[in-house]
Structures are given as C-alpha cells and as structure tokens.
Amino acid sequence: MKIKRGDIKYVARLARIHLTGEEEELFSAQLNDVFSYMDKLQENDTVGVEPCVHIPSSSNVLRDDVPGQSLSSERALANAPEQSVGFFKVPKIIESNE
C-alpha cells in the first residue's frame, strides 16, 4: 500500500492539523516506511482471535448517582485563551470557506 500526499492531506484535515507542504512531503515518505514495516502484521492468521482492546483490569465500574463538587466558573475558565461573561469565547465557524 502506498500513502500519497493526498491521503496525508485528507487525514490531516480529519485530525484538524494544518501541515506545511514540507510536512506533507516528509510524512508521506516516513509513513510509507512505517506502514510497509507494519504490513508484516498481515502475516498473522487472526481468524477467530478476539481483539484485545483493553487489559481487563476491572469490569462494571459504576458510580453512585450522588452529586459531587463542581468547579466554580472562574476555575473552569481560568485557562481559557479568551472568555466572556462566564463563557468560553471562540471564533465563529465560517461555513462557506471552511
């Protein structure tokens, strides 16, 4: 499988990362190396193998429905790059050109 620069562009968009042309170039080369190394995985016969997505360190972990401490709005917003009257403030979504 060959990763093209277009694939990198598409994935970068999905991941919401702006890449420079140089980065796109670099990543498509490097990820080709990495993925062709990883293609070795296909050698394994995994028919009937249950995928391991976690280490089953626990199960059925549940919390009682009892209210606990929330943060004050000052603390919740303390790290915000911009805020306004108790809200996080962000630029508007510009639909047309975005």
Partner: protein, 490 residues
Amino acid sequence: MNNICGLSAYQLKELIGKNNIKAVDIASSIVRRHDEVDGRISGFVNFDKDAVIDRALCLDNLADMHDRGLALFKVPVVLKDNICVNGELTTCASGILQGFRPPYDATVAARLKSAGALLLGKSNMDEFAFGSSCETSYYGPTKNPYDLQRIPGGSSGGSAALVASDQTMLALGSDTGGSIRQPAALCGVVGLKPTYGRVSRYGLIAFGSSLDQPGPITKDVRDCAILLNVIAGHDKLDSTSADVPVPDYVQSLSGGVKGMRIGLPKEYFTQGLDSGIKVKIDAAISVYKSLGAIFKQISLPHTEYAVSVYYIIGCSEASSNLARFDGMQYGYRYQSPDGRCGLIEMCMRTRGKALGLEAKRRIILGTYSLSSGYYDAYYLKACKVRALIKSDFDKAFNECDMILTPTTPTPAFKIGEKIKDPLSMYLSDIFTIPSNLAGIPAISLPCGYSENGLPIGMQLMAGHFEEEKLLRAAYSYEQNASWNKVKPVL
C-alpha cells in the same frame, strides 16, 4: 549538608528519623544541586526554587502537628510533566499546553502530597511522551548524566536523569511502551512499570490509554518499593484501576530467588543485540544462578510484531486523546495576523503550529489507522495480534515465574542520531513494548556499564499483579551486584 542529595529516599528517611532534619534544609540542598548540575542536564522544566522552599516550609510547619509516620515525609519527589498538579504548570513538554495549570491533582500527585512528600517540580519528557530520547520536548533535550552528548532515553528522560544526577531522591514517570524502563536503563537507575490498573491513571495526561501506567524511577530497588507503596491501589476516579489488594512491597523485598524459574525468551537475544549488553546480561544470569534461580529457554513467538501493534494502537488512541488540544479551553491559541479567522482555521493552525513534528506524525498515523477503510487492516488487526502477544505471555508464565531480558538493544545513543529516522527510533523500544501490550509489570535495573561507561539495564517481567516477585528478584540481584552505588561524574 550537600551530601543529602546523594542519599536514597530510604537513607534520607532514616536520617530524618535520627536527626530530625528540616524539610527546608533538604530543599536548600536540592536547589544547590540543581544550580550546580541542571544547567548541563536540563532535567527539570519550570523549576521554581522559591516554590520548592515554600513547600518545604509548609512541611516543617506541619511537622508540629503531624507525626513522622507519613511514608514520604519531607522526601523530595519529581513528577513527569504529564502528571497534573493542582495549580502548577503541567505542559507535557508541549507548546500547545503552554501556561496550562490544571484545576485538580492527579491521583498519584494527591497520594504523594498526603504522604508528606516534598514536590520539587516537573521533569522534562518527550512531547506528550512521544519518543524514546527526550529530543521531542518543546523545551529541548535532556542530556544523559553519564555522557552529555547522549540522550537520557525517553519519554521519562527528565525523571531518570534527575534521579541519576542526585537532583531528587524519587521521581514518577509514565510508561506506555518503555518510557520508564528505557530511560532508567540508559541513566543507570531503577524504573518500574506496574501492572496495567495497579496505579491510577487519573490526572496522567493520556497518550495510549490502554497502555499507559505511571510508575517509580528511583536510585535503588528498595526506594522503588517505598514509592510504589504510596502510589499503588484502587482509585474510584479511574474506571480501569484494579480493585486488587496492595501488599507491602517493602516487606516483600527479602526472600531471595532460590528455586525461582526465570525464562529467557529466545526472540530477545537475537535481533541486533549489542554485544556489550549481551555480556552484562550473561553476567547477571550467572549472579542469579549463584543465588539459586533456575533458567529456562522460552519463546514469545509474536515478539517481532510488537512494535507494529504498539504504534498502531498507541497512535490510534493518541490521535483521539490529543484531539482536545484545539485552542478552545486552554493552552495555546493561534491568532491570525488580521485577527479574523474562522474557528476551523484557528483550530487547524493552532494544532499545526503548537504540536511538535513527532506529535503530528503520530496523530496522522493514528488517525489514518482508524479512518474508514483502514480500520480493519490496521487498528483491528493490531488488536488481534495484541491478543496473540498477550497469550504468548500467559503461556510463558505457565513455564516460568519471571522473564529476564535486556531493557534496551543498545546503550544510550547520541543526541540527533535517530531523530530523523522515526522507524529506527520506534524499533529501539522493542524489548519494553511487549509488557505494555500484555499489561504485565516489568522492572529495569542497572546491570553494569558499557566499555565507554554507559549504563546498561536488565529487565524483569512477571505476571499481572506480581510486582512483589519482580521487586524481590531485583533486590536480590542488587544486593549482590551493587551497581546502584555507581554515580555519574558531573
């Protein structure tokens, strides 16, 4: 008083017990040591001397009310920069988290505080723990105390270098694919990755959530047990935390290895293993034999796939875990020169600009592995092979009590040597990755030095929740080999 810094946590505790040394004196020694050596090592990020002294003064005030029964009373501890401390800068050594002060404590941080530890500050790391060399840090690389031209390992390189250079007694790291053990090995200290679920991940900024574990980096095995005693145990705030009783790990140190069956997986003793490392591992095996351990050849047949499985799963999880860094609620936000850019543009530029190259590479890799059309071939396939790797270990532990391997295929490499070649960097984690995939505990401890004086580490792995066994075996070896007494010349 300067010799305080050379002590282990255990020795310091004894000294405090005898002479009732003030925390502020300990803090002053640490600050002096920091001023003396950290300019060359760069192990700390955001080291705030005044804050350290203030915290020490607080502990001294507490001393009147509190008994010295607290497990780590006045003992200096460093936290890796991906562990949240309420109100303290916590940046994962990333540009995107500049200025971020979490409004809460990680469970491990809270436990250290309640144990009376003297928190020194944050240690350097690879950005978001993405790396094996500390070179991807926003703050620049940390240097190996044994050779300032070389990397300290990563991603918990700052913690390992600070312990090795006597700038702290204890440190916490986090280990996703070897990030505690590999730097511990390369810096000549002890590092333990606990069983997945043994130590709470709450407040540890996630890389690969199904792989991450916080754990101790210490000067010797006894300190490792002391620190694990404080941080291990069930946490209601972490759904993956195991509700399994915690033994007293210090108590479990003695007992020796007589009759213990130790497996040597043949897959770890072939691929490109440095001959100097081979010699030291063989010597360690001889020590164990002399102590009554029994060695066995075993096989972990899927080892060669571990790196691929790890990078696919780790990067997939990371791509999702790091999606929250978007400039909305905290951290860096891109400002367009004309001040008029839309939200999506702001988000893309923020991430493009403030995430480092390796972070972007891994997010792209992970996003790709999960994206429509590739999920089955990459993410799902990797999870299936992960199951095979896990069952390799289950089978192996039917035949032996423990597995012994080198921690790394080579000693510390030079700064800049591998940074341009991600694949070769990824392959340097080959011996440490499998235990994360299987969720089993593993420890790295010094087992000698290379011809040019670089530390070499040996790794022991055991079954789930068998940290006691690992610590006992490591302690037995350390008592007989005493590599922990060697210090770098700085």
